[in-house]
């Protein structure tokens, strides 16, 4: 003969007998379609990130950035050299002009 505790356990174990199916909220289809579209947008970004993260692509991008930097640095150095050279020739011309002026004044004074 079963005792009280065993009866209670049997009662608990059989509590799911005759259980009815829980019903999902309405408009499941609409929500699933919205989710699919959301996933599509995410996957576009995901694909973009995956493409950038490819070693070959990442290396190519890095090389391009370094090459651009090197190009600009070399270019700016050339411009500076030209400017310095131009500046130097102007100063020489001015000095020569002054020398000529001094010589002319001296010639006048000596009456040559």
């Amino acid at each position: 003969m079963k005792n009280r505790s065993e009866n209670k356990i049997d009662e608990i174990l059989s509590s799911l007998d005759g259980i009815k199916r829980a019903e999902a909220r309405p408009f499941m289809y609409t929500r699933v379609m919205a989710r699919l579209q959301e996933d599509d947008v995410k996957s576009v970004w995901g694909r973009a990130v995956a493409f950038i993260a490819r070693p070959a692509v990442a290396l190519a991008c890095l090389t391009a950035v370094i090459a651009t930097n090197v190009f600009f640095i070399v270019n700016s150095e050339r411009t500076e050299t030209k400017t310095v050279a131009t500046g130097a020739s102007t100063v020489t011309e001015e000095l020569l002009q002054n020398d000529n002026l001094v010589l002319a004044v001296n010639n006048l004074e000596t009456g040559e």
Binding site: S15, A24, L36
Partner: protein, 188 residues
């Protein structure tokens, strides 16, 4: 029915939205109920049910038709629900560890007893105790027991979903009942 199912699958493979809508209408309660009985949260079950249908839509090309469509959907639903439970447990453990080191995070509090909406009012208290005990079973025993008791699947159908023999299901269910009995004895 099988012919209709084949046509539905073919149409879904061709990308027809009407076929997808029919599949959702036919299987939404089955999926939701399965997920709910495993995760014991209406919000989470709703979320996982949506994930299940998203996967059905995305993976229909890989469905070989070796089993029934419902069996395949049951398999996705149980796998996703168990994954969710594992993530939840991991999060709970991590929260506990973090709380020990006092980084300000709170310990995840156990939710109150789960009441399945399909249980008769006079059985609700006992069913809540049973669901609490089911939660402590191993994953295989839990899935076999819930598919059999909550979804009302036969041993054959449970074995198709779980991809094991019928005798294995019988053994799993026998062990599940014994374990539940022991757990309930300790509680009473």
């Amino acid at each position: 029915m099988v012919l209709n199912e084949d046509i539905l699958i073919q149409q879904l493979r061709e990308g027809k939205d009407s076929a997808f809508k029919t599949i959702i209408d036919n299987y939404q309660d089955m999926v939701y109920n399965t997920c709910l009985s495993i995760v014991k949260s209406e919000e989470d079950a709703e979320d996982i049910a949506q994930e299940v249908f998203v996967q059905v839509y995305q993976s229909i090309q890989s469905f070989k038709g070796e089993s029934k469509l419902s069996t395949w959907i049951y398999r996705i639903a149980t796998t996703k629900s168990l994954d969710h439970e594992r993530r939840k447990k991991r999060k709970k453990r991590l929260g506990f560890v973090k709380s020990i080191f006092g980084d300000g995070s709170e310990i995840v509090i156990n939710p109150p007893d789960f009441n399945h909406p399909g249980v008769a009012l006079d059985k609700k208290e006992n069913a809540a105790k049973l669901f609490s005990a089911i939660d402590k079973l191993s994953e295989n025993q839990k899935v076999a027991f819930l598919l059999n008791k909550v979804e009302g699947l036969s041993y054959q159908e449970v074995s198709d979903v779980m991809e094991v023999s019928v005798s294995s299901i019988e053994s799993l269910l026998h062990r599940a009942k014994n374990n539940l009995r022991k757990m309930l004895e300790n509680k009473l």
